[in-house]
Symmetry: C2
């Protein structure tokens, strides 16, 4: 048994050394890609070498987060602007080199005001980055076949590299059937089961990762937050945000717990977390008592709340009770201006990547 | 805001009532299916209705687990025998009705002693249940094309309903490429990315779920362990066990945390868990101090350790320090005779289900 433990300890040291080299290599790679700082996924697959003494292992660096009186506000808007500017540069380079630009198609069904605003913002961002965009608008009472026909055309259109179905769809449409009709190569939302399966499974790499999940990781990396080994909690388990964020955090070797509405005593889990990503869509769900001093908080929740004093009669609020959190945590994203702008930036990035693959443009 | 909370509280009550009705319905369904007690997956998709007071919600029943001096030993062998006997009955009914039996093909590459034993046990179990089985044996130095050719033949063979590639494969073979070649309908190991993606995503249902993950849930259900709302920890994140088990526990509305070799202070997380499933493959990794009194422990670890006093010169040990755990937890699976036999029973069940689909036999 002693021999086994010694061998394991050696393997672990080798693993750590290999891992350090790999991280250095990945940093070099990510700087050279110019747009996104997140490393490629598969290279992050590190061997799980277990030791019996892992609980008392002091070889890992201490947590980045330390208790501060006033949190750093993570300026997602400014970070996203920088990324969008880099993407615009890459799109120009593609156009100058091969005479092509990336193309995004959006399908919007119905008259939901929030969906209309989201789509408007995405299209505007495409224009600014030089990405071609097309929107197919359908009335609330359209048929499934009408939507599927439009999807089929976009799948075949070689000038379109990304297809986005704005969710939620009206109840009478089969969301699963419609999303399945988007061809894997153009699934810029990362919501195709093959992309999700490949994100979940070690040793595999999805073509695309959910824009919000990718945006969250990018914010953590750009804010200098260490993810590996940290306790991360994801609140919410939606297919589009909570699930891929939890899977991606795990790919970055965080220890992930997923909280949902059936969780008993959620704050007993959240207040042990170094990183909290919340995407429940419930204003003020996360109170100060839910958070560990010094934690890093990413608030994906974006809920319109009536407010007559605001221009449009409402204001957007997140899941986190910001006033309670800001004096307690080490870093936090505001709502709006935190994760939201990153989601759009990652959509442009995913569309650019898809066009790069289609044209074999590096 | 008060109006919002009241509406949410009403929705929650409705959700709970609906949920109770659903559970009752599912129980009826599961009893009628005769073989597996786990409910169908998609029906388990419950709406996440969040409340601000969820931390103080006493409407949920108290935990099943209570502290006992001596744990119930979950007799996986006996439970699996019962399931295999039911499967044999169903196979006979299929043969009598339509003159067909389910067929399983196994691909085994190389001379690993443990893999040979596993395959031998699976084939023997097939024979006893009346399921046809075929094994393709390849030498250690076979080429990828040879394995892919065999897979292609099994994919086309209408008498084969399940294909199993015994892992691990020798290093020179591309595991991902080989597993991807198994057609989705015959993926009785539930390891195809589409099956994994559909297991992960709410509102979707995989054709097949990993045998071990399914076996673990079946053991919990048959042992009367409540899963919904409980804190569950999965130790290990392999594609074949840890990952699907964590996803399946979440489908059953547990609050799941995934521990791996990069987790800092793993026992600080495991000793808060009501349910611990451990699949690290490290003997005695989980000590008594890692476990909460009254927890339920499923030990998937199966590691051969040299022991001259045993018939074959070795004995199998799990991840859990059994002697320390047994006086502390409320229920535990032994190694061997716990989860292992369930994995084989679930393989037979998955093969039967696949044949049922192929022949539209209910």
């Amino acid at each position: 048994m002693i021999k086994m433990i010694m061998a394991r300890s050696r393997m672990r040291r080798m693993g750590m050394a290999w891992q350090k080299g790999l991280i250095k290599k990945m940093r070099l790679h990510s700087y050279s890609s110019k747009v996104i700082m997140s490393p490629p996924l598969v290279s992050l697959d590190l061997p799980d070498v277990w030791t019996h003494s892992s609980s008392h292992d002091h070889s890992l660096p201490p947590p980045v987060c330390s208790y501060q009186r006033s949190a750093t506000v993570i300026d997602g808007k400014s970070i996203a602007e920088g990324i969008r500017s880099s993407i615009a540069g890459e799109v120009k380079r593609m156009k100058d080199s091969i005479g092509k630009v990336p193309g995004l198609a959006v399908i919007l069904v119905g008259q939901r005001r929030d969906s209309q605003i989201y789509v408007h913002n995405k299209i505007k961002a495409c224009e600014e980055a030089g990405i071609k965009s097309v929107v197919s608008l359908f009335p609330d009472d359209c048929t499934e076949d009408e939507v599927l026909d439009a999807l089929s055309n976009f799948n075949e259109d070689i000038s379109i590299h990304g297809i986005l179905v704005q969710l939620p769809l009206p109840q009478h449409l089969d969301e699963g059937k419609i999303l399945d009709a988007v061809c894997l190569e153009k699934d810029v939302d990362g919501i195709h089961p093959v992309n999700m399966g490949n994100l979940a499974m070690r040793g595999r790499e999805p073509l695309t990762i959910s824009c919000t999940a990718k945006g969250c990781i990018e914010l953590l990396i750009r804010s200098g937050v260490k993810i590996m080994g940290k306790n991360a909690v994801v609140i919410g388990r939606s297919n589009i945000v909570g699930l891929p964020t939890s899977l991606l955090l795990q790919r970055h070797h965080a220890t992930v717990s997923i909280i949902h509405a059936f969780t008993e005593n959620p704050e007993r889990i959240t207040n042990k977390a170094d990183i909290v990503v919340t995407a429940a869509g419930v204003p003020n769900l996360v109170r100060g008592s839910w958070l560990k001093p010094g934690a890093v908080v990413l608030d994906v929740g974006t809920c319109p709340v009536e407010d007559a004093s605001c221009e449009f009669g409402y204001r957007l609020v997140g899941d986190v009770c910001y006033e309670e959190a800001v004096g307690l945590v080490s870093a936090i994203t505001p709502v709006p201006g935190g994760v939201g702008p990153m989601t759009i930036a990652m959509l442009l990035s995913n569309t650019l990547d898809s066009a790069r693959r289609a044209y074999a443009f590096t």
